[in-house]
């Protein structure tokens, strides 16, 4: 098995890691009951009651799954 001969320098490690980048998700803007919400498209959304407790997942008016 091939094994590294030399320790990788801190600079090289950090130079490599500097290329790791997070990408922003594409969100859709919808208005629900006069409130603007942003959510992921084509994906079930979590329905919450007024206290903020998570109830179930819903998509296009259908209950999909429990949380």
């Amino acid at each position: 098995m091939a094994v590294p001969k030399r320790k990788m320098s801190r600079a090289n490690t950090r130079a490599r890691r500097s290329q790791w980048k997070a990408t922003a998700p594409n969100l859709v803007k919808t208005v629900e009951n006069g409130r603007v919400t942003y959510s992921l498209p084509h994906q079930a959304k979590v329905v919450t009651d007024s206290a903020g407790t998570e109830l179930f997942l819903e998509y296009k008016g259908r209950k999909v799954a429990d949380v």
Partner: protein, 149 residues
Amino acid sequence: MPTPTKGPRLGGSAAHERLIFANMSAQLFENKKITTTLTRAKRLRPHAERLITFAKRGDLASRRRVQSVIASRSRTNKSIVHELFENIAPAMADRNGGYTRITKIGNRKGDNAPMAVIELVMEPVSPKQAVVKEATKAAEKAAEATEEA
């Protein structure tokens, strides 16, 4: 006939993939709804829908074909085949394909795999679509008639 899938088999080998699909479709017919990864759900869909098509045909030959897929290893799965032929197939009688629905439910905690719920579409076909189809056909006919005149 579904389009052949590209790329490697699920599970590593063709035999393992067959077993995965057989188990998953049996569970789908038993529970009407299963949660799995999006990739598996997408690959399961043509397999499961083909079994439902056999169930809609309903004769002994097609029953044996479905049994050879679902219940060849486990006798208890015979009741699932019965459920498929007696309860699911009549509910799908008016539906021309599209027997399953896949809904994405976000990524799994742990390995961040995109998950989905695949379920049988058991609701009766909405009469609205039929009305719309008839109306468009009638409109087309009327348009043709006016062109000829």
